[in-house]
């Protein structure tokens, strides 16, 4: 491929990578700080997408839908944490896997009962619906750039939250040593609830932001879930920075894999993961 071609594909990779990051960030947080394996993370993504669809239909405004949806998702996260997850922090990963797998079933069925099994589309807000011409016959949708923007903002926001704020300090303390944190007067219960809700919120927001271009359909979460796992594993559990790097890496491999090695596009990402683990069994940035 010629050079401009290459640049555009690079742009695609970065853009895809950032989307993956937005999805994986919540997962890696929940993993890293509460040590909870959450197979239902993809369901939260789906929840977000469906919320975006139904709410934007109701309000006639995607922005409003996203705001309300985010609040709902976080509330949902809090409820879920209070009802189930907080009882599983001290349980084995096995029990957590099982719990969240059961939840996948429940969420899928509830989705089909509440929203049905149709494929739906969410219209892109007018002021983002334009496209920027790159070559004479290829142009880049503004909305995708907007998504990338959101993801970057999110990355920065998370970074600041974790490393600069008091809450972030408490979170890190809790992740590092819960007893010590508690002795320092940190309310671990509260911290966990917050982080979990944050994680759910992130996944849902990702779903909502992606809805307009991804369209909304059953089981849309399951595919995403596994990619998130790969990203989190490569990046190193609990490391937001790692998730970012890994997501970009995966985006790169996936994009160029499709173009240069179509015959094995499906496996390349997993091969990347294998390679990374051979080199660093605990991911690029172990916490």
């Amino acid at each position: 491929m010629d050079f401009p071609q290459f640049l555009i594909q690079l742009l695609n990779s970065v853009q895809y990578g950032l989307l993956l990051f937005m999805l994986a960030a919540g997962l890696t947080l929940i993993f890293g700080i509460m040590g909870v394996v959450n197979l239902a993370h993809g369901s939260f993504y789906m929840l977000g997408a469906y919320l975006a669809w139904s709410l934007s239909a109701a309000f006639g405004s995607l922005t409003l839908a996203i705001l309300v949806g985010a609040v709902l998702a976080v509330a949902f996260g809090l409820a879920l944490e209070w009802l189930l997850f907080r009882h599983f922090y001290k349980r084995s990963h096995l029990d957590q896997v099982l719990l969240t797998f059961g939840l996948i079933y429940i969420f899928e069925e509830l989705r089909s009962i509440i929203w049905g099994d149709d494929v739906h589309g969410v219209t892109i807000p007018a002021l983002l619906s334009a496209s920027i011409p790159l070559t004479e016959n290829l142009s880049y949708p503004v909305y995708r750039l907007f998504m990338s923007g959101v993801c970057i903002a999110l990355a920065i926001g998370l970074y600041l939250l974790i490393s600069k704020t008091r809450l972030g300090m408490k979170i890190r303390a809790g992740a590092f040593n819960r007893d010590m944190a508690e002795s320092l007067g940190v309310n671990i219960k509260l911290i966990h609830a917050t982080v979990f809700a944050l994680g759910v919120g992130l996944a849902a927001v990702a779903g909502m932001i992606a809805a307009p271009i991804a369209s909304v359909y059953p089981n849309m979460g399951s595919q995403v879930l596994i990619m998130c796992f790969v990203v989190v594993v490569i990046g190193g559990i609990g490391s937001v920075r790692g998730a970012l790097i890994a997501a970009l890496l995966v985006g790169l491999v996936d994009t160029f894999g499709k173009v240069l090695l179509p015959s094995m596009a499906g496996m390349l990402v997993y091969m990347l993961m294998a390679a990374v683990l051979l080199w660093k069994p605990e991911g690029l940035f172990k916490q």
């Binding site: 394996v37 001290k90 096995l94 099982l98 059961g102 939840l103 605990e282």
Partner: protein
């Protein structure tokens, strides 16, 4: 941590009794059950072998593999490839070859994954299974997304003499039952052998095991390989029974179901895995056959019931059916005193 729970490694007499009765029931079943249920129970037994193989990792060694289905599927594919279009192939060499193939795959993949711990292990095993899944899904030559037929069940003929014919549902049933019993006995012996003791030691306290001089990597890798090979045995039987192999056999759901079977029954003693496999398959069956109540078809929403059941189970009975049963018997015991 479930690692800290005792695993009923030594089964109480009460449970032994129940298992014994179960065996009798299994022996008699083909004479009372209809062909459909004979097939269903055969499948349950195959899943039981699969679940036991996983239990060696999950319950004994404390390694939660979310990609165990890969080795199940691989042996099935091996059978499909070894069976020519026009005729049956001999059971006696294809079975070992298929099992070894799965074992070998487990050995290679295990080399990567066994070095990781906890959540990493869970996710890495899953990702590798996905990799294997795509190898078959993406390649027309390997059957692609539609999978492969096993046109003829393997033949047991030895130099013209035919001891039994797997084409008969009943024969296949008893053949599978035999495999189930052998696997169970083998794993029980293994559990109390020095190897098995070491594995459970690793589950409970890997750090101390190392401090006492055990090279845990080798042990884990061996366990992973054996588990893979036994999963292969189950996969081979599956291919023999259904005659149809599909990439989804290696999918995420298949692996997760196996995990559920093991937990449902109770981990670390293999009997639990068997009970779990039967219970799980049977529950799916029941949930899907739920009747229409008023305007709502309960059966249609089987996913909801299954999900709720799993959540309740793991919340309230993490030690599974055998765990409950044992607790129940204990209480009865104390009541009498």
């Amino acid at each position: 941590m479930s690692a800290q729970q005792s695993n009923l490694e030594v089964l109480p007499t009460s449970i032994k009794l129940v298992l014994g009765m179960g065996l009798v029931a299994l022996l008699a079943f083909p004479f009372v059950g209809t062909p459909f249920y004979t097939e269903m129970v055969t499948r349950m037994m195959i899943m039981a072998i699969f679940a036991m193989s996983l239990d060696l990792l999950q319950g004994v060694t404390g390694l939660v593999s979310l990609g165990h289905a890969a080795y199940f599927g691989l042996a099935g594919y091996a059978l499909a490839f070894l069976t020519p279009q026009g005729e049956a192939v001999s059971l006696w060499w294809t079975l070992p070859v298929a099992v070894l193939a799965s074992g070998l795959a487990a050995l290679i993949i295990g080399f990567f994954v066994v070095r990781t711990h906890g959540i990493y292990f869970i996710m890495v095993t899953m990702a590798f299974a996905q990799m294997v899944y795509y190898v078959f899904f993406d390649n027309r030559a390997l059957g692609g997304s539609d999978g492969l037929y096993v046109n003829f069940k393997p033949s047991a003929a030895i130099f013209g003499w035919v001891p039994f014919d797997l084409d008969s549902k009943r024969t296949l049933y008893y053949f599978t039952l035999g495999a189930l019993l052998l696997t169970y006995l083998f794993l029980r012996r293994l559990l109390f052998s020095p190897f098995g003791r070491t594995l459970s030691g690793i589950r409970v306290n890997e750090h101390r095991m190392r401090a006492m001089g055990y090279g845990v990597f080798g042990y884990k890798l061996a366990a992973f390989t054996v588990a893979g090979a036994l999963a292969g045995l189950a996969g081979y039987l599956w291919g023999t029974q259904t005659g149809y192999i599909n990439p989804e056999l290696m999918g995420f759901h298949m692996s997760a179901h196996a995990i559920m079977m093991v937990i449902l029954g109770g981990m670390g003693n293999f009997a639990g895995a068997i009970v779990g496999a039967f219970a799980f398959e049977y529950l799916l069956h029941v949930f899907k056959d739920l009747p229409q109540v008023g305007s709502i078809n309960l059966g249609k929403h089987w996913q909801l019931w299954m999900g709720l059941f799993i959540v309740l189970l793991v919340t309230f009975a993490p030690r599974g059916i055998l765990g409950l049963f044992e607790k129940f018997m204990k209480r009865k015991g104390t009541d009498h005193e």
